[in-house]
Point group: C2
Chain length 455, copies 2
């Protein structure tokens, strides 16, 4: 495969939810849809390496069953028959779950994780496992960027973003603890949804971090929402959390009165071209009637920007302490199988104390309140999803500076694949407020419509 | 084994922390201590059936290593060399973890759970796995009450309580979501510590319930604290929680100025003899200078009692929704292996919605605030740990009515094995306030001293 022309990203995407009527009418079928996905996979995956495992026979059986349900007028949900990829940090009873690490080489879980169980209950077709970095952290897997195979797809949800971005799948599960959904979505040109922390049940995933969140990479906002809703309505959020708020279908696009532009410390890293693209996008939103506020307008925003700038270091410390136990148990039983990065993390964790950790989560809680207090000021935040197009090379998954706020705050955020730079995808990001994922989607739909108008 | 004379419970217990000096002096050793435990196990376990697995060779090696560390004057912690049992809902890399269910028959986890990893880091000797009810819920395992083998040991931490109560072990891990630590401790005559929810890391346990909590069954308050501290200081609490507050050693006993007697709806179930025993105990605390408040003294206490009375039904609903996914995945892969009770729970979960669940956890949150508001009124709560001695028969693990408040509220609580009825153990319970586990222990130490004075 050579470089794809990138105009526009959406040409490569394969939305599923807009096929519903044709599935019911018989003009299309989940089985035919699946075969189109398999054709793309057959054509592209050898080079892109988005999958660690595929269950093609099982998928065909499931798609046939879904096809019959539509014919009978009784689909189980809006995602009945949807081919879905599952990040390989999430356990599946049908396929190995290798966590991007030799510690779990060929490991076959006995049961499905909560999200997988819910997706099956909704009729989704679990087609394959997608590549993750080691333990969903920073050490890359084999996946390449589908728009330029010499570049990273981003991480840690690398395979999910690459597969969806190039149209091998309409949706795939991802997880984000720093920037693992929003950034790869930006690099691979798909939609990325990082819900409110705790909104989707993480049970059965190797995912023990307090700010980690299950989410969706998808070919459209409707697909992202439908997958998230299918999970939350069937198995809820994390235990003790209220789960995803909102109805079965996303509400129509709705213009926010005001958005806060969030610079983060990433703004200084932007090349001029990227910066201009962002400013032009903001101008278009302005022209369409949104008031854009910034750190220069209100001291509360400036205070929040300052707090956010310190949060990447703090997040990494929190994650390191929380990862102490699993890394310790892995190293104890299978010494020599951790990457150098994980070994370093384990060593760093051993120097930390519970008292340190308490201070860090207290600062996080304080920053969350700063965020929450801005709910009265604007309908949400707008920023980029990455510092530019996917960087060249496969040794790093890129800079998460624009993605961290949503993780640290636990707020919902989406990447919209509406921009491009250097003929490669670039995402614009909207971030909302805790438990207001539905409003975020409504604003995101409106922003997408504005930015794509005329394209 | 025939019925043991029960005067007093503590005669059967085997405290470990008070051996510290003799281990250092060489007058005793962890290996010799272990051999005394093994002798008791050899003598009693065939009838009591407290264990599902033992790792005797591994334990002897670990005890020898600890013995050398004391000799060198360099023990790793206050529990270095302590033989510990691990409830069989918690994963161990050295022994199978069967969850009290044929679904996990002979299942061998690959890695140690967080608590097990921490205990090993502290030098503890992981001697065996202890019997749990099915998935730590209500269907009993094979364990019998060590003071009368025709009676239940309580559940779900059945094996842990039986083994510690009769002195096979100084401490064992338990978990409690309704009454699974405090009640078996009462029936088996040992100390039970149910910490503040989230205070001890549950990672690596089959334990996905929001009000479930890892805790300790122990031969003394010092042992219970030392085990809990060893875990929390090394692997923290559940991710995002601040972990157990307090120092390495519990503070000395300290008289609370006021305690609230908590009747719960269990008070009406007490036989006259049990009720008198409770009232006499309260009189002794009164005589020693504690003011006892009750629902008749303050409307806030009455309001809290009313809320608590409704909480058992609500807890079961919350647990049922949260258990939906794992039961569903188990039944999907290994149909026919769930107990009738679990099948019923699965069917009930399928009738529930996320909207229902949200209402239930909102009521729980409101009740937690009622509890918290009483912090200004008294130093804690006093009640029984069970409605009486262990009931006859092995088909039920007994009534959790007195144990539920601490679980529902997420507050710390201890069972003190200081009472007896019908020549069988009966525990008195102290409950404190969130994150004030250390103060609870201090009050508990004082209450123990008062109630055992002269015995």
């Amino acid at each position: 495969m050579n470089r794809h022309p990138y105009i526009p990203t959406n040409a490569a995407l394969m939305p599923y939810c807009n096929r519903f009527r044709e599935f019911c009418d018989g003009g299309d079928s989940p089985r035919a849809f699946l075969e189109r996905c398999l054709e793309k996979i057959d054509h592209l995956n050898k080079e892109i390496k988005a999958f660690t495992a595929l269950n093609i026979d099982g998928a065909r059986r499931a798609a046939d069953a879904a096809t019959l349900r539509y014919k009978a007028g009784k689909p189980w949900s809006h995602i009945d028959g949807m081919p879905v990829g599952v990040k390989d940090i999430i356990e599946t009873a049908d396929m190995p779950t290798q966590m991007g690490s030799p510690v779990f080489a060929d490991w076959q879980p006995r049961f499905d994780a909560a999200a997988v169980s819910a997706l099956k209950q909704a009729g989704a077709v679990i087609l394959g496992k997608t590549v993750t970095t080691e333990f969903a952290a920073t050490v890359p897997g084999l996946t390449r960027n589908p728009f330029d195979p010499t570049r990273t797809p981003g991480g840690s949800s690398s395979g999910s973003a690459a597969a969806v971005g190039i149209g091998m799948l309409p949706a795939a599960l991802g997880t984000q603890v720093i920037g693992s959904i929003l950034r790869p979505a930006s690099y691979c040109g798909c939609f990325g949804f990082k819900p409110t922390v705790g909104a989707l049940n993480r049970g059965g995933s190797l995912d023990y971090l307090s700010q980690s969140c299950l989410g969706v990479l998808a070919a459209s906002l409707d697909d992202a929402w439908a997958v998230a809703y299918a999970i939350s309505s069937r198995v809820g959020g994390d235990p003790g959390y209220p789960g995803l708020y909102g109805g079965e279908k996303p509400k129509p696009g709705y213009r926010p009165d005001r958005l806060i532009r969030l610079d983060t410390s990433g703004f200084d890293k932007l090349e001029e071209e990227t910066r201009n693209i962002f400013e032009v996008s903001l101008d278009r939103l302005c022209s369409a009637g949104v008031e854009i506020l910034s750190r220069h307008d209100l001291p509360e925003i400036e205070q929040y920007e300052v707090a956010i700038a310190a949060s990447l270091t703090l997040s990494r410390k929190i994650n390191t302490w929380e990862f102490h136990w699993p890394l310790c148990s892995f190293e104890d039983r299978l010494p020599g199988n951790l990457s150098e990065v994980s070994q370093g993390r384990l060593a760093a964790a051993e120097e930390m104390t519970l008292a340190d950790y308490r201070k860090w989560i207290a600062v996080r809680e304080k920053t969350r309140r700063l965020h929450h207090n801005l709910a009265g000021v604007a309908g949400g935040f707008v920023t980029l999803s990455a510092t530019g197009a996917a960087p060249p090379g496969l040794e790093s998954t890129g800079d998460p500076v624009f993605n961290l706020p949503a993780s640290f705050i636990g707020a919902p955020a989406v990447t919209l694949p509406c921009l491009s730079v250097k003929a490669l995808p670039l995402g614009i990001q909207l971030m909302g407020f805790k438990d207001e994922d539905e409003a975020l989607f409504s604003h995101a739909q409106w922003v997408e419509n504005i930015l794509l108008a005329g394209h």
